[in-house]
Amino acid sequence: MKRFASIAFVTAIALFLQGCAGWQSALDPKGPAASELAWLIWFFTGLCAAVWVLVMIALALPLMMRPRERAEPLVVDADADNRKLRVVLTAVGLTAVILVGLTLLSFFANRTLAAIGSDAALTIRVTGHQWWWEVRYEDATPSHILTTANEIHIPAGEPVRLLLTSTDVIHSFWVPSLSGKLDLIPGRMNVLDIKADKPGVYRGQCAEFCGAQHANMGTFIIAEPREKFDAWWNDQLEPAAAPMSDEAKTGENLFLKRPCVMCHKIGGTPAGGTVAPDLTHIASRQTLAAGTLTMSRGNLAAWIADPQGVKPGSHMPVVDLNGDELNAIVAYLEGLK
């Protein structure tokens, strides 16, 4: 039993250390909010661990000290009980003090978090859909408003305000290495301020159960230096690139004739559907189907040919295409950088 326990323990420690550098981890903070929260998590954990050890010592005491066995259960030593009463009252008092301390600590942490986004210059509206994220960059100039999906580019080192809402069920926006989560609720608008200290790619995913494909509703925050971000925004405002090859040209025609056009929008073409992700610059994204597949020609083809195999239950229907048609559409989409 002992040997088994020690093997299990060593294995457990090895497993825990191995995964620590996660890119979707609350313990791997990359922004001021997550750093504050990571500190809070470690502080609470340390304090709770200490309390737990004390309680276990108190539990083990009678087993170690082996006092004499009691003969008559109703005969109780009143002095001993008085001493115990004092110990218990002290313990209860200490508990109360610790709890008041932790409550204050969490109030102050809340204030710190609230201050992070007070001077946010950029506002992004994130709308949850089953099972993808619609991302709209707000701007005073209507022609600068940009709609994209699933990947959120932000300028590094600047606070960004996210307006969170949903048009179907409740989702929850969570990028652990940047901040805590907040729900997207139909009929309501929540505000979450985030800030990434350094350029990088931070993964997040939906944290409120939202139906069949809740597991595959990922998102990426891509923090870039300001000038790169501005360039990206300007590129994204451009209409879709015209198809270069004949195959891609065929693909565009097929896309516009087939059901694809009912749901998807491609800027600069008649395709104007809004119930599914905007595909104007789909090939510039890193992943497909809300973080389910990496962007590649093969994955694009797989996703279009068999959406229900890749993401069972998703709202992307199977469109009847032969091999050539599929290749043509993939070639077209692949050019939409």
């Binding site: 997550a34 737990w52 969490s106 805590g180 159960f209 809740h214």
Partner: protein, 658 residues
Amino acid sequence: MSSADITSERDLPPESEASAKGDVAPERDGPRDTGLDDASLHRWLARTWRTPPGIIGALSSVDHKVIARRYLITAFLFLCLGGLNAVVMRIQLSGPRRGLIGPDLYNQLFTMHGVTMMFLFAVPIVQATGIYLVPLMVGTRNIAFPRLNAFSYWVYVSGGLFAWVSFALSMAPDVGWFAYVPLSGPEYAPGKRADVWAQMITYTEVSSLAVAVATIVTVFKHRAPGMSLDKIPLYVWALLVTSFVVVFAMPAVMVTSTFLILDRLVGTHIFNPAEGGDALLFQHLFWFFGHPEVYIIFLPATGMVSAIIPAFARRPMFGHLGLVLSLIAVGFLSFGLWVHHMFATGLPKLGASFFTASSMMIAIPNGVQIFCWLATLWDSRPVIRTPLLFVFGFFFIFVIGGLTGVMLASVPLDLQVHDTYFVVAHFHYVLIGGSVFPLLGAAYFWFPKITGRMMSERLGRWHFWLAMVGFNAAFFPMHIVGLWGMPRRVYTYPAELGWGNINFFISAGAVLFFLSFVLFAFNLVHSALRGAPAGDNLWDAGTLEWATSSPPPSYNFARIPIVTNVEPLWAEREALPVATGLRVDVRELVVSTVAEAHPDIREKSATPSIWPLLAAIAVGGTFLYSIFTPWAIVWGAAPIAITLIGWFWPKGDPEDEE
């Protein structure tokens, strides 16, 4: 009503004589137990209180012990089913992108796991333990409202069958045990799955409300003479507080599920924001029930701990009054915490902060309980048997769960771990550590009372260590993988997030934990058939259930005991003082006063009847039909009315006519 003329064979406290209000009219009187010798007393009582023979007789039983045994066995079967759900889920999650099951089945599995464990296992089994033990512990012959109690069992069984038959038909709810709208609303949950959730809630709530009412009345009015409030055993206190929590919490979830059914079936828009409804209202209503629900499951378990510890520590509980007050405090505070399940919904920050404070505050009465238990164990050499081992396991696990609960109470911290595996770990530490471990301890503790046979101590120790290792291996790493960003309720995860190895380890632990229950089931069956005979009071414990034989006769006590101490069997070593004067040819009970437990009147307890079963079938059929059409309520009213009329038809008893 007949007045009390209960007399004692020993000296009664003077106040009980003062409450005697004269004798009853002789023509209504039958033989009493006062002068009878033991043998003929047993003959009389056995004939009066027996469950009738035959299948109809068995189905008509109103004996609280018979009903409780059925409840316990049924709830244990549901535990096994819910555990199997969990094992299948764990196999699916044991590696990234595993294809054992798809999202459709997985979402049904985790919903059924939650629904089964909460509504078909945890609440019924803690209430069932109470149905068995409370009447014995307060020294009466049956639970109050025995037919209502029988009815509650049949409604519970039909609700459980309804849910699991739906699952077999791939029609089980797949919206989570919390079934948030709009996901469970008419637009996003077509088909009948969400209706099954809503109605199955109704079944189990009806049944648990019925048990709660019966328990409250039993504790308030049926206590043995002399068992004043300060002499009520802690276990009974725990069940009393729990029953009140049930009475105030369950209506909230019935309203929730009824509103949902109305939205889905009748076309109201209570939860539809597009029509002026509110999706968050559902969460408020649900968690106003959902948080007390945790304490409905946990408080009876603290009662079990408070029963087991004195027996093995060989002294009365230290801080009895403190424990009672903290039970009551927890009962009240449990209604003030529900918002901590909703911190991530973006409520106003000031409001949420109040709930941080109240959630932290409930740790104080719970701390009082823990410290009193520890203090009880301090000045004695505890006798370490399996029940006490499980109590130690309870301390080990539950304290971790309580402390992670303190972490979750903090709004900012909760925003990182809410809806992740950290929370899954937390509430399994609370519910399994806080409730299942005491229940297992209680099983080893009271099994000899229920069956008259001992459970195997050797297997019990193996079971304990297997359960401890399996549980911690399965659930501790979940804290870590939750902090690494793994959300709950996902049927799969990508390999590149690095959660594969730790999930494999978790799954292995889960299998081990499941095996511990297989061992436990074997021990139960084997000991029930072959166990060594147990005496009446094998642990030399102090409460009244140990005063009668093992298993107890249908009438529980040949003569109603008189209680002189909170641990009456320790105070009265030679013979328990008894009260006499009850009729033996009809089912008579002592009804006593609420505070002092003065014997007040003699009252008849209900006789066996098939009507509760028929009424439950009518009610169950109506609920089932109502997931298809709201007219079910109209059509179902007739059979329900007929069965209730049959149930309450006057028997021509003089007592009824007064």
